[in-house]
Symmetry: C2
Subunit: 227 residues, 2 copies
DNA sequence: CATAGAAGTTACCCGGAGTATGATCAAGCG
DNA sequence: CGCTTGATCATACTCCGGGTAACTTCTATG
């Protein structure tokens, strides 16, 4: 209901003189929160986050309304980061491939895309396990009433878009798109979660095995059902 | 550390005369807890569960030690149920298939197994969404110190065992087994979670699409890497 | 009968989410 | 300048759920 954030001239009475604007402050808070979670783990309390930001709890609640709202904002920020990392990784991988439209070329492109994406994801898990754990288990979730539908949906949508761009628009039915996207994301989550506990296998091998599974699944969904 | 539960003759002083034995009581508690969670959702409080069982909180803690311990017990019970439902479903599906050892027979068997398993799982989600949500988001998790490693591992192990039995023992490397198992389980979780929110597609179709993806992934992991 | 050991309940503690209240500051207006 | 207004922020609270301490009750055993 706090719809006061419309059309205000960004410098209102009450704001400290040289202080940050509302959006700057929001970014600071998100950054601080991610730092704390990265350090102390996914169940950092709101007090800890506020203290790390040099502020107190009510400020957080003014900005995010809820702990779930805050988790949602953090998830969005993480999604942003991962997207950037992923697109650069993708661009590099695709630049190495000769263009072409044959079936084998299409397979090679798909393979390269999947490997690059999964490698970027697993690298993220490797670099910051606590942030990954936060993504997997957003605290205060488990109730479907809030809109913390997590980045699973975002990621699934992104996969869907990439697939559409690769194989043409009407190739997959909406159901197939949903199932394939969720399968890939969920499988990657589960494998990464296991790897996060048991790092007994190098990253490259993990990505290879997972990619083989995923690519085959995608290809199978692309060919018409032969049941 | 309460290791007093060793070698006691099951009828000790202190127990009410006609009352249930310790294991019976434990089963009652689990049953009551599952009932409450099924009714009020996955974030039922310990007080609610205790009240539903006609008892009070300390009894629960005496039996399960912890909320995580309780969640672990509940997960085990659910795993038991699902396993039963699954094996019967599997037996029925496999009975319809003619035996044989050719590659196409093997593919048909694998397909039948995967379809039956996924159908049993999705049926479980359909019949009791709240229990499924509890499985997905065990409350009080997010800290790796407790042993609530969830049934993801159990399920992944079960898949691994089935696969070994189907394709022979040394066919898959340990890493492959882990990756395939987690991929299947995680993908099924994610797809089911989406379907739980958006039931816009009949169960059979969902299972078909998911099975196609999973079977292809498994088959690909079985064939030696062709990069 | 007295003792022991287990089951149960009441009443509490503790920590984290979320909020009511008041202090403080900056701009605008007389 | 003095006053009002509207915004930020901190102190200090309430509320609720997980977990526990202490006491009572009961049954079997010596």
């Amino acid at each position: 209901m706090t719809k006061k954030s419309v059309g205000v001239p960004s410098h209102r009475p009450g704001r400290p003189k040289g202080g940050p604007s509302r959006d700057e402050r929001r970014s600071e808070l998100i950054e601080a929160a991610l730092g704390v979670i990265s350090r102390v783990g996914p169940l950092a309390s709101m007090d800890e986050i506020a203290e790390a930001a040099g502020l107190t709890k009510p400020v957080l609640y003014r900005h995010f309304g809820d702990k779930a709202g805050m988790a949602s904002a953090l998830a969005a920020a993480l999604g942003e980061r991962l997207t950037i990392q992923l697109t650069t990784s993708l661009a590099g991988a695709l630049a190495d491939l000769p263009p072409g439209r044959s079936a084998v070329r299409r397979h090679a492109r798909l393979q390269a895309i999947v490997v690059a994406a999964l490698d970027a994801f697993v690298s993220f898990v490797e670099q910051d396990p606590n942030l990954f754990r936060f993504v997997i288990h957003p605290p205060g979730a488990a109730d479907p009433k809030k809109d913390v539908i997590a980045l699973t949906d975002r990621a699934a949508d992104a996969i869907m878009l990439v697939l559409r761009a690769e194989v043409g628009d009407g190739q997959l039915s909406p159901v197939q798109e949903a199932v394939v996207g969720r399968s890939v994301v969920g499988g990657a989550y589960a494998v990464a979660e296991w790897w996060d506990r048991d790092r007994s296998v190098p990253r490259a091998k993990l990505v290879d095995e997972l990619s083989a599974f995923v690519v085959a699944g995608i290809e199978a969904s692309l060919t018409p059902t032969k049941s």
